[in-house]
Structures are given as C-alpha cells and as structure tokens.
C-alpha cells in the first residue's frame, strides 16, 4: 500500500495501519446492514409504505427519547449475551450455533432456583441463580465440545441439533416438574421478589451491566492476555497454533465452555430481569440473532455492543411501529435475515476470487 493511501497514523502504530484496517472492517460490517435496509425498503415500498418515513419513525421509536433508548437497551440486553457467547466461540474458530439452547436452559435453571430458594436474601439469591445459569450453559455445551475435540464430530450439526433437544427438554421440565399452580400455559412459578434483577430505569436492568462487564472482559482478555492470544491464533490458523505449541483441543474445548457459560448467564439475566419465571418460547431465537451480531462485529468487543444495540433498536422500534402503523413486526426478521445472508458473504474472498478469475 502506498504511503499516501494511509491516513495520518498515530506514531507507534503497527505497520499496515490499524486505522485503515479498522475503517475497512467497519465498512465491511456496514455493507450487510446497508443491503438489509435496501431490501427492507423494497419490501416496504412494494406493500405501499414510504420506506424513508418508516425508517424515520423507527429511528425515532428506537432512540427518540430517554424512554425509547431505555427500551432499546432492554431489548439489546439478551442480544449482548448471545452475541458475546457466539463471538467467543467464533474467535476460536469454533462454529458453535448452540447458544440458543444454552440460553434457554440457563434461564430455566435460574428461574427454578429463583422460585425455590425464597428464604435467601437478594444479594445472595441473584448470584446463586446467575451462577446456576452459567454452570448449566457450560455443562450443556460440554458434550458437543468433547465430541468435537476428541472424536472430530462437526460441532455445527451437533450444536444445532442440541438446540432442539434443549428446547424440548426445558418445555418438558416446565410442564411437569415446575408447572406453576393454577396455570395451564407452560409457565413456572414466578421467582421470589428479591431474585428479580434491580431496575436501572425503564425496562433496563442490572442484566445490561452484567453483559457489558462481560464484553469488556472479553475485549481485554482477547487483546491482552496470553490465553486470549491463544484463542485468536487457534481461530486464525489452528495448524500454525498447534505448531507454535498451543494445545488447540484445549483452547477449542474451553472456548465452547465459555460460550455456553455466557449464554447461560444471558438466560439467567433474562429470566430474573425480564420474564421473572420460565415460559415456553423463552427465547425467540436470541441465539440466532447472536450469530448475526458476532458476524457484524467480526467478533470484536466494540462491534458486539454496537450490533446488539442495532438489533435491540430494530426489535423495540419494530414492536411500536407494529402497534401504531400496522406494519408487521416481521419486517425486523426480514432485515435480520438479509443481514445474515450478506454478512455470510466474505467480501474479501469475493474480491480475491474476482481478481483470480480476471488474472
């Protein structure tokens, strides 16, 4: 790259310009989002809506007032956990799509203990419930991690399948062992009042803080710690990592466990902070939105926060837009699906491929 292409680089920055790299990765993340809004605009226009004014209303409903910002942040909270959980695995080159199952079972464990241990004070009960959610999530991702590391079983299929098993299992437990007295519809008893996460204004709870602390830890860990470096190396090039003396199986195993643990914490925070019990349909696919978030963020900590806020904004704005203007909430799914399809396209590969074909 010619020196003239590089914008003013901070002295001491590594060669190759971190800034240019950052700009490029931001551009690559914005591309799928832009594509999604174009597709969404076409869908809206075809069905007789003015896309610009709909998007303007959505922006206002997402960020227009303190109350709306709070609602967006509340919607972003489970997504932060799911995005972070997915990113941890993806960073290590592990294609874990079992975050949804861990989220559900973590939520179930927390809701159960939150309703059972009513004698405990809140300062003890909340950590116990969250810890139970974390352990449950980690335990649920252990079998596919073990199968991948020991037997080479493709984690994509095993984790995908185990999501369905987790959802069925949770549904069975809530309908038999934990069914609340007097409810017909698949819900556990509400958690004790002191188990509910403290609110921070609007629907925002302590869960948001827990998630953000997790993201900060992740950012620091992957950037500045030896084990974080091992994770990145394993993700970038497992053969090289192995040659360099990194135990790739150990790193992969731990990445999946951490991923499950964070997902379980997310489920616990969602159960204690939002739902206050466990119900069938606890997660409307948070784990899959988490995949979209990790992709857009390219597994970076800052990106996870931004992408979670984006999807949180879409969810909260979509709900009110549906309420007031009759535009189905499904438009949010249209946007999310398009973002995933376009984010899956490797722009770099595409350019390289085109160059190779031209050569």
């Amino acid at each position: 790259m010619a020196a003239a292409d590089v914008p003013a680089v901070r002295p001491g920055a590594p060669p190759g310009s971190a800034l240019a790299g950052a700009l490029r990765s931001v551009g690559m993340s914005l591309l799928p989002v832009a594509a999604a809004f174009v597709v969404g605009a076409v869908v809206l226009a075809v069905t007789g809506w003015d896309p610009i004014s709909v998007y303007r209303v959505m922006a206002r409903e997402a960020f227009g007032s303190t109350a709306r910002v709070e609602s967006t942040l509340a919607a972003a909270t489970p997504l932060l956990f799911a995005g972070l959980a997915t990113a941890i695995a993806f960073r290590g080159g592990v294609f874990n799509i079992g975050v949804d199952g861990c989220f559900v079972l973590g939520g179930l464990a927390a809701a159960w203990l939150g309703a059972a241990l009513t004698g405990l004070p809140g300062w003890l009960l909340i950590p116990v419930c969250v810890l139970a959610g974390m352990i449950t999530g980690a335990v649920w991702s252990a079998p596919p991690a073990f199968l991948r590391v020991r037997l080479g079983v493709d984690e994509v299929v095993s984790t995908l399948m185990l999501n369905f098993v987790a959802i069925g299992l949770a549904s069975w437990i809530v309908n038999t062992l934990l069914l609340a007295q007097g409810t017909a519809n698949s819900a556990s008893s509400p958690v004790a009042p002191q188990a509910e996460l403290p609110g921070l204004g609007g629907d925002v709870t302590l869960g948001l803080v827990i998630a953000l602390v997790g993201v900060v830890f992740y950012g620091v860990w992957t950037r500045w710690s030896a084990s974080g470096y091992e994770l990145r190396m394993t993700g970038l090039n497992p053969a090289f990592a192995q040659t360099a003396g990194i135990s790739v199986p150990r790193v992969v195993f731990q990445a999946m466990l951490w991923s499950g643990l964070v997902a379980g914490a997310g489920g616990a925070a969602h159960a204690l902070g939002v739902v206050h019990r466990f119900v069938d349909g606890f997660s409307p696919g948070y784990g899959f939105t988490g995949i979209a978030i990790a992709l857009l963020a390219r597994n970076g900590a800052v990106g996870i926060v931004l992408a979670s806020i984006l999807f949180g904004a879409l969810a909260s704005a979509g709900a009110t837009v549906q309420l007031f203007s009759d535009i189905p909430l499904d438009i949010v799914d249209v946007l999310q699906g398009t973002i995933m399809v376009f984010a899956a396209v490797q722009v770099v590969d595409l350019r390289r491929r085109i160059r190779r074909q031209a050569a």
Binding site: L329, I331, Q346
Partner: protein, 292 residues
C-alpha cells in the same frame, strides 16, 4: 396400530422429500440448513397458486419451481460469492419466515377460498388388507412419488453419469477439477434440486391434508430432514429409513401422550438420535484409522 401406520406414512412424505433433496445437496458438497425455509416457501406458494387456479397440480408445480429458484439464489450466494453455507442457510430461514409473516400481516394463517387439495388414491383389494392397506392405500400421489424417488435417487447416484459427477463435485479435494468438471455449476444444480424437493415437500404439507397455510406448519421438519440425511450418512435407503422412523415417532406421539409420556421429550428424539449416530460414526472412523 393401523391408524398409527397410516398416520406415520403421511407424516413421512414431506420429511422424505426434503431429506432426499438435502441428501443430493450434501453429496454435491453443500450442507443445506435452509430446507426449513424452502419448505415454508413451498407451502405458501402451493396454497396461493392452488387457490388462484383451482388446481393442486399447479399449486405443487409452483411450490417446486419457486423453491427451486430460491435454491438457485441461495446457491449462487454460496458458490459464487463465497457465503458460509451455514450462516447463509440460517439467514435464509429467518428471511423467508419474515417475508411470509410480513405478507400475512400477523394473521399467521392463510386460508383462501377454493384451495384444491391433493386427492387420495384408494387401491382396491389392498385397502382391505390390515397393515399393508394402512401403509399403501388411501395416500396422495406425492406420497407414492416420494417413495419411488428413493430407489430413483439411489440409481441416479450410483449408475448415472450425472450422479457420478455430482459425487465428484462433492468429494474432498480437487477431484472434480481433475475430471474437468465445473464443480460450482454442479453444486448449484444440486442446490436447485434440493430447493425443488423441499418446495414439493412444503406443498404436500399444505395441500395434502388441510389445504391452508400456517406460519408454524413446517414446525422444524426441515431440520428433521437434515437430521435424517445425517443419520443416513447421505445414502438414500438409510435416509429413507430414518424418515420412516422419525415419522413413526411423530405418529406415536399422541398415543404416548395418552400413556403419560411427554410429547416434548418424544419430539427431541430425532435430534438426539443424530448426535448419537454422529458420535458412533466418529468412533468407528477413529477405530478404523487407528493402527492395529
């Protein structure tokens, strides 16, 4: 018993069609996570076109062609733009469900007037025989077609030039290029076929029994089909066997519920079985590769 077998045969049809499509795609080198979305697309197209034309054949044709076309777009994203097949597949499922949900405007169900459903065929003589009659008679033509497609697929893969080329395109390494084949085009063709099969499966689901569309009607069948061809290791007969077993689980569910078993647990069985089968397969492979 007879009722269960009859119900299982009906339940097997969409699974079998979708699984055969996924199997062809898998043999061509692509794991198709988007069968679910393509079944949903096939179901809505079948209902819309059947209601418009009053012809179930036209409905099924629209479902097949429409989903095949969606399969082509999906395939081009993977083979030409280098999209990750898993993420693109998950995104495709969400996108299709979102588009259909948007179009239905939170009604969830679409039941226009004049939907022509698929007629049942009674086979005289056989319909009176216990068991055999339950399985063979009083089925829609697509069910017979689906089972005929099993030996046809086996023959196609084993004995035709196109089948050999498909397997070469999906084989690891550069064997297809070594043979001078256009691997990407072959892969595209297999994804189009998977789309067509899954679309027909969705169409049969919508027009076979009730003649309406519901957002939740595919209900994970695309993923069970995925489970089936993983169970069958992408071979036609074992895959068909898996579909039959999973359909039997489905049909037995109601009976088991009466006996006090949980439908929620029974519904997880296909998925659990796949993880077990993958594990056993991996252990066998490891034993074989380990020095004696």
């Amino acid at each position: 018993m007879g009722q269960i077998l009859a119900a299982a045969t009906l339940a097997a049809t969409p699974l079998l069609l979708a699984a055969l499509g996924g199997l062809l795609n898998r043999r061509g080198g692509i794991v198709n996570i988007a069968l679910e979305g393509k079944m949903l697309l096939g179901a809505i197209l079948a209902v819309v076109v059947s209601a418009e034309t009053g012809s179930w054949v036209a409905g099924l044709a629209a479902a097949t062609v429409g989903s095949a076309f969606a399969g082509l777009l999906f395939s081009l994203a993977i083979t030409r733009a280098g999209a990750n097949e898993i993420i693109a597949g998950l995104g495709f499922n969400i996108l299709v469900a979102g588009l259909i949900g948007y179009a239905l405007d939170d009604e969830g169900t679409y039941q226009p007037a004049g939907v022509a459903t698929i007629p049942r065929i009674d086979i005289p003589g056989i319909d009176a025989i216990p068991v055999l009659g339950d399985v063979l008679s009083d089925k829609d033509p697509i069910t017979y077609l689906a089972w005929l497609a099993v030996p046809a697929t086996a023959w196609f893969l084993a004995s035709t030039r196109a089948g050999l080329r498909l397997r070469a395109a999906g084989a690891p390494g550069d064997s297809a290029y070594a043979l001078g084949l256009r691997a990407l085009a072959i892969r595209d063709a297999s994804t189009v076929a998977a789309g067509a099969f899954a679309g027909l499966a969705g169409g049969q689901l919508a027009l076979g029994l009730v003649g309406l569309f519901n957002q939740g009607m595919v209900a994970g069948r695309g993923f069970i089909a995925l489970a089936a061809f993983y169970f069958g290791r992408a071979r036609p007969w074992p895959t068909a066997g898996a579909c039959a077993i999973f359909a039997l689980f489905d049909a037995i569910q109601i009976r088991l519920q009466q006996e006090g078993f949980s439908t929620q647990l029974v519904s997880t069985l296909p998925y659990l079985v796949v993880v077990v089968v993958l594990t056993i397969t991996a252990i066998q492979t490891q034993r074989r590769e380990a020095p004696a």
